[in-house]
């Protein structure tokens, strides 16, 4: 049985068994949870479908959050994506998906917290993009979510996946690292390459603070889901090109924990500093809570 304390150990086990991280994790989880593999697979497939539904619903131009602060941007990105923008159609459509799911979440839509509600647009922005752009089939996409889940379990055990504990590096940073590993697997990379992609994604978001305006999961959360997917895609491509992270992934996770512990409370979901404490951030807060 796997103990989910080290990504290196998971990769090593996958290598020894000459299998993918996802297949290894699925069979291990079936054993640990005492539930047949097919059932776990079906459950994960349902989660994938919830993600796809959220992508679709979130692109509605009329969508607005409960607070009224956000909504409608996914529709803008989606229609712009058809032009190819600067970075091409693939990434622009993926960005639209990430925004769509995040905005849908803020509008009380149904989402899959992965690992959290605040970072729920990152796996849809990456894994669902691969599926919907014809880069993989549904089975591979479902399996990739097991890979992502395994990475998240290690991060949760060794660092944190809660903004209140570790800052946004723990939420969007973790989601992005999970997505990077999943993307490598979807593109046919090795478990070792997945681990390098994961390490690069963490390194790029180390220190990211959690400073939501008015304490709501909207500003800056929604846009951080977009940067989260961009980092996941570039990290995956780097790893697939053969680039390695000089700092091993498990050490990156420990660094994330250390940085998270050192972040002051004011930058861990309390909305007392950072963007939440800017003049505009404070003004928006007053607007939402009817003080002006």
């Amino acid at each position: 049985m796997l103990d989910y304390n080290s990504i290196a150990a998971i990769c090593e086990a996958a290598k020894q068994k000459q299998t993918t991280i996802s297949a290894l994790v699925l069979s291990d989880q079936a054993e640990q949870m005492e539930i047949p593999e097919e059932k776990l697979y079906e459950r994960m497939k349902k989660s994938l479908h919830v993600m796809q539904e959220a992508v679709k619903e979130g692109k509605n131009p009329d969508i607005r959050s409960t607070s009224g602060l956000t909504g409608g941007d996914a529709a803008k990105v989606e229609s712009y994506a058809h032009t190819g923008g600067i970075t091409g159609k693939f990434l622009n459509h993926a960005m639209a998906r990430a925004v769509a799911v995040s905005e849908y979440n803020a509008a009380m839509g149904k989402i899959v917290a992965s690992p959290t509600a605040g970072s729920c647009g990152i796996l849809p922005g990456t894994v669902v993009s691969m599926l919907e752009e014809g880069r993989c089939d549904e089975h591979a996409a479902v399996m990739a979510l097991f890979t992502a889940g395994a990475i998240g379990m290690v991060i949760a055990a060794k660092a944190s996946i809660a903004g209140a504990q570790g800052g946004c590096q723990a939420e969007c940073g973790s989601a992005s690292a999970m997505a990077a590993a999943a993307l490598v697997e979807l593109a046919g990379g090795t478990p070792a390459q997945a681990a390098h992609a994961c390490a690069m994604a963490i390194k790029n978001q180390l220190g990211l603070v959690c400073d939501p305006v008015a304490g709501l999961v909207e500003i800056p959360c929604i846009k951080r889901n977009v940067s989260g997917i961009a980092i996941a895609f570039t990290s995956a491509d780097m790893a697939l090109a053969g680039v390695e992270s000089k700092i091993p992934v498990d050490e990156c996770i420990l660094a994330m924990r250390q940085v998270g512990d050192m972040l002051p409370c004011t930058l861990k979901e309390t909305s007392q500093a950072g963007l939440a404490a800017t003049p505009t951030g404070i003004l928006l807060k007053k607007q939402v809570f009817g003080e002006i």
């Binding site: 919830v50 409960t66 979440n105 998240g152």
Partner: protein, 219 residues
């Protein structure tokens, strides 16, 4: 922890603590009342009191009180649904001493006159910590399947319940008894590892001195 704690839960946004956790708190109260709620008075403490509207915590609590789960798409419209069903609700801020920042105290009245009060907090990730039920101190998180056994504090009642559970092959992970008054109403909170069968609950309900048995399922 398993892989669905990371890829999951499937929930209604925007925040696991302000919506998913709040639905579950409301649902605990609904389960305890066991009849159609006609009136809900909800007091909010700490950050719940300040941010409940922007987060939809009010909708989430009312949805839970109406028996919805945290992935129910009707949560968004729960206040309108409550109006339609004749459920009167009120919210007010209350300073509860030493309480977790996301604490709610829910008082319900049922159509046949039953009443109950539940106090609990949403402690993150959709997890809750229920601290008080009808004035009795309890403590359970909802991370595990939890059985609440309301009973009269009479000799042999605890043994009867736990023996029955052992007999049915249910492993108890955690047990806690709250007994404000000797011989009066008391509550056992029992966290179990496995799934709990409806038949087990029914069997426990008919044991002598057991008033009611409620199952709060893990997320």
């Amino acid at each position: 922890m398993n892989v669905f704690d990371i890829i999951g839960p499937v929930m209604i946004g925007p925040s696991s603590s302000h919506t998913a956790g709040a639905v579950r708190l409301g649902r605990v109260a609904w389960k305890i009342l066991e009849e159609k709620t006609v009136r809900a008075d909800i007091s909010l403490s700490g950050s719940f009191a300040q941010t409940y509207r922007g987060h939809g915590t009010d909708k989430a609590l009312v949805a839970g009180i109406m028996g919805m789960h945290s992935d129910d798409e009707r949560i968004r419209r729960s206040l309108a649904l409550a109006d339609e069903e004749g459920l009167v609700y009120s919210f007010k801020a209350l300073d509860i001493r030493d309480a977790h920042p996301n604490t709610a105290r829910i008082h319900l009245k049922g159509e046949n006159g039953a009443e109950c009060t539940v106090q609990g907090a949403s402690i993150g990730g959709g997890n809750i910590l229920v601290s008080e039920i009808n004035g009795m101190e309890v403590s359970f998180t909802g991370q595990y399947n939890t059985l609440m056994v309301l009973h009269y504090d009479k000799p042999g009642t605890i043994a009867a319940v736990t023996n029955f559970m052992a007999y049915s092959g249910t492993n108890i992970g955690n047990f806690r008894l709250s007994r404000p008054k000797k011989g009066g109403e008391a509550v056992m909170t029992i966290e179990v590892d496995q799934d709990v069968d409806e038949s087990l609950i029914q069997s426990l309900r008919i044991l002598p001195n057991v008033i009611n048995v409620i199952l709060i399922r893990a997320i």
